[in-house]
Symmetry: C2
Amino acid sequence: MHVADRLAASIDATGSVACVGLDPRPALVPPPVRDAALARHGDTVAAVAEAFLATNRGILDAVAGRCAVVKPQVACYEAYGSAGWDVLAATVAHARALGIPVIVDGKRNDIGSTAEHYRDAVFGGAPGFSGAAVADGLGGDWVTVNAYLGSDGVEPFLDDAGAHGVFALVRTSNPSSADLQDVVAGERSVAEHVADRVAAWGETRRGTSGLTAVGAVVGATWPEQARALRARMPDTVFLVPGFGAQGGTAVDAVAGRRPGSGAASAAGLVVNSSRELWGAWQRADAPDRWQAAAATALDAMNRALGEALDAGAGADGPA
Amino acid sequence: MHVADRLAASIDATGSVACVGLDPRPALVPPPVRDAALARHGDTVAAVAEAFLATNRGILDAVAGRCAVVKPQVACYEAYGSAGWDVLAATVAHARALGIPVIVDGKRNDIGSTAEHYRDAVFGGAPGFSGAAVADGLGGDWVTVNAYLGSDGVEPFLDDAGAHGVFALVRTSNPSSADLQDVVAGERSVAEHVADRVAAWGETRRGTSGLTAVGAVVGATWPEQARALRARMPDTVFLVPGFGAQGGTAVDAVAGRRPGSGAASAAGLVVNSSRELWGAWQRADAPDRWQAAAATALDAMNRALGEALDAGAGADGPA
């Protein structure tokens, strides 16, 4: 099944466009999990790794059926070396066992021959000495990529069958994103140049949902740009970071939706939240109810996004 | 000691501007190393990991004292999961034990709070539950970064003392680099916009050598652009990929040198070669002399680059 269709099916089955970010940090680990890991390992990489995986599994169990997709942030794992990589792989495996699509957020990029190795790292297939695959990779459905190197750096991640997809950085959520992305070249900003490439790469990689295997990262912090970028990328799935902790509202987050109403998947976007879900226990009465706190926070996010999508559909009129 | 001064000292001590790329691939492992690993582990990740590390250590022993710096390509290791990460860390440790500076080639990039985790992955310092560092990181001196996110994504890798540095992608060596990097915005190409940022970020991060902690990746395949980019980044170290296997000649590779003559380090660049050094045994008479083959290939590269630098210095006149 095409990667965009798998995502669309997940959105429609759950009624959610939420992407649950799995960005573990020691300070956000629920106290009961932290204390158990410290008791066993002291304040070591082993304790951090054990606590990250236990929390991720608990969060995944709590959000399964309530979110469209999950997105581990590779940097948070990589910071702890090979132990962190094992946690990342086990986290992706747990999500897949629960039937949740996974976006590996690594923002990888390099020349073509090197991008192939990054593809293997995420999707599997690194060869042994016989040439046959010996490594499984992380097992993700999608990977985020940085398109600064052009098509050479993006196409190695894609396959003819659409089994896997990418989200290319177009307009990121951070304050200094304007440094380069807003520079205007001809009639278009740099972000718009990338957007046009994203649309072109996706043109021949469309699922039966109409959505393509080449998505775009478009931050919730720039709603006007999101609307303008949608016009350039009509059938591109937007991965929208910046909701919540970074300042984007639910209305901002869905600004880049496809016009019209219909199934939730027809909006063509998923909205990420990380800290406010993974660390939801911080706002709960009882820290040991951290799984319920994550589910409750996600339900609130789903309601807010659902209302914003319904309002947007009304404004645009039916498809 | 400032990271750019450490690199300049290494260039002058070895008389070499060569960067030895450590991009292991199973097909390039010397047959004696491959056969030993296969005998022990069969065709598995364990065999690949053992063979990669043995070859890297042998290559490092052979090139120590003959090259300015080494550059492991993270993708080649990451493709084999946590076992690959352990090989990468052990490779960096071996280089450091030999006194060779290390560029971790990961082209990392993300918003600021996430870039901090990538910094920890490369330079160490990821916290445990107490907030104190528990992880060493890979131990590199430099890391390659992609500046599409602007200063937020670059500055977390830098420190006030200049202990560590970055090489930001400016003009990459691959064919499709023109897709975005050559787009002209105002009077400047996108690559030139990035170059001006690189120069500005480096302005306050200068060592006693005059070189800065913010380097630039400028491919050997675009010598005319390298000359134009040098004018915008007078005190930036250029990391030049694309020499040899990708088609750049020695003269092309040093096109972005700083003007004038003097110590080799004053040229302000290092030139990478990967496959032609790591796989040099393929062109040797006896596969078991793979270390000597790498040293011989490096010596030839050093001679070619030295001649090209001398010729360039003559053309520019004395400093």
